[in-house]
Symmetry: C2
Subunit: 211 residues, 2 copies
DNA sequence: TTCTATTATTGGTCTGAGCCCATTATTACC
DNA sequence: GGTAATAATGGGCTCAGACCAATAATAGAA
């Protein structure tokens, strides 16, 4: 279990900025914290912020971003001739397994952020897009096609969506939550084996079948 | 085939703005067109823009937004006791069928926008989120659960992702594209019947099976 | 037609994100 | 100690998006 970018001082400024931002977001909320506030507390200049982050909202998704990076690395190392779907599941569960119970993205805990429906949602979806992109890059060659193929794109988007749902529900389940890997596995399997069957199996006595 | 909000003058200002924006985007690209440019050409004040749109990027997704609105309406009218997945498919295909071959969202045709990876992506994903939300609201009660359930969220996200893929590939296929409904049906079925089986069926001699 | 209530449009102003570029510090390496 | 690469900064700029109060326009009742 290698923690790629955890513990190691990627950069002192970067960590300082993350810490300052965390404090400020908790103190006064996300939207009323400006980048200048953050850099001032971190003791650096405003411009330095943009040496480490592309956007303020990056700070809300540090854990997710790290997870996607890890996923991309692991997938890169997978040989071409193994079963892609099974491998994908392994990798996703393994990466999720490295995420500690306390490493919840701020975006999913800060009530204000979640309710605002604005920047948080869109910034979160940026992660979805990146994940989908990584998945398409992994799947396409393994099914002997290109990443623009409808089937590949649909599958990648669907899987990325499922993983997003896993993170979201995991975060919302609060302190009593099970490990993220459980949620990821469940969501992944649902999409891989088919939404129709999965839902029917999971909710066998649902309304539409009783009529 | 009712075109909900086409042809009827929703508002003259609104249509004028849409037209002006289309012209300007084609002339000088999206990012170098400011809201002020648009309103000036439309002959209204800058503030009027925000009476009709929440963001500049709304103009890139008019057709998709209309499609989601239609979908939401249709789903609202569906009784609780019919098969939800089959109904969903019907509705999605029907709504897609109303989209003319020329009604491609600007976001998906403007090369500049697609390549920028910035605002366009995130604004597109806002649509994804709305669609997923509508789907969750439809599915949850029909499977006797709440919209926060992992299975419901994962399924909704997965389906929304598949539909996004369908729009994207449809747009990219250019003038020779088949009707959007074809793409939607294919992507939808892929997720409903399962990614694993669908990909294997579609790419039967793929690399990992030859080894 | 005139008055009125509602809705659309506008002017003015403000914050803050994100970008750019040139300059200065810092660090690492020889 | 000197040099080259990298990190940090200063300063300035554009523009989206928000807010609010004021003014038109319009529809509807009388």
């Amino acid at each position: 279990m290698r923690h790629e970018s955890v513990g190691r001082p990627r950069s002192s400024s970067r960590n300082t900025l993350e810490d300052a931002a965390l404090e400020l977001f908790l103190e006064q909320g996300y939207s009323s914290t400006t980048i200048e506030h953050i850099t001032r507390r971190a003791g650096v200049s405003r411009n330095t912020f943009f040496n480490y982050f592309e956007a303020k909202s990056d700070l809300l998704w540090l854990e997710v971003d790290a997870g996607i990076d890890r996923m991309a690395e692991e997938l890169d190392a997978v040989p071409l001739d193994v079963s892609p779907i099974a491998t994908l599941r392994d990798v996703m569960v393994r990466v999720a397994d490295e995420v500690g119970a306390d490493r919840v993205p701020l975006a999913l805990t800060q009530g204000e952020v979640m309710r605002s429906q604005g920047e948080a949602v869109t910034s979160g979806l940026t992660r979805f897009a990146r994940r989908a992109d990584v998945l398409a890059g992994f799947l396409a060659p393994r099914f002997g096609t290109v990443r623009n193929d409808l089937a590949i794109l649909a599958a990648s988007n669907a899987l990325a969506g499922a993983i997003s749902a896993a993170w979201e529900v995991w975060a919302r389940d609060g302190i009593s939550r099970r490990p993220l890997a459980d949620y990821v596995a469940e969501a992944f399997d649902l999409v891989v084996t088919g939404v129709a069957g999965s839902l029917d199996r999971r909710f066998p006595r649902s309304t539409h079948r009783e009529q």
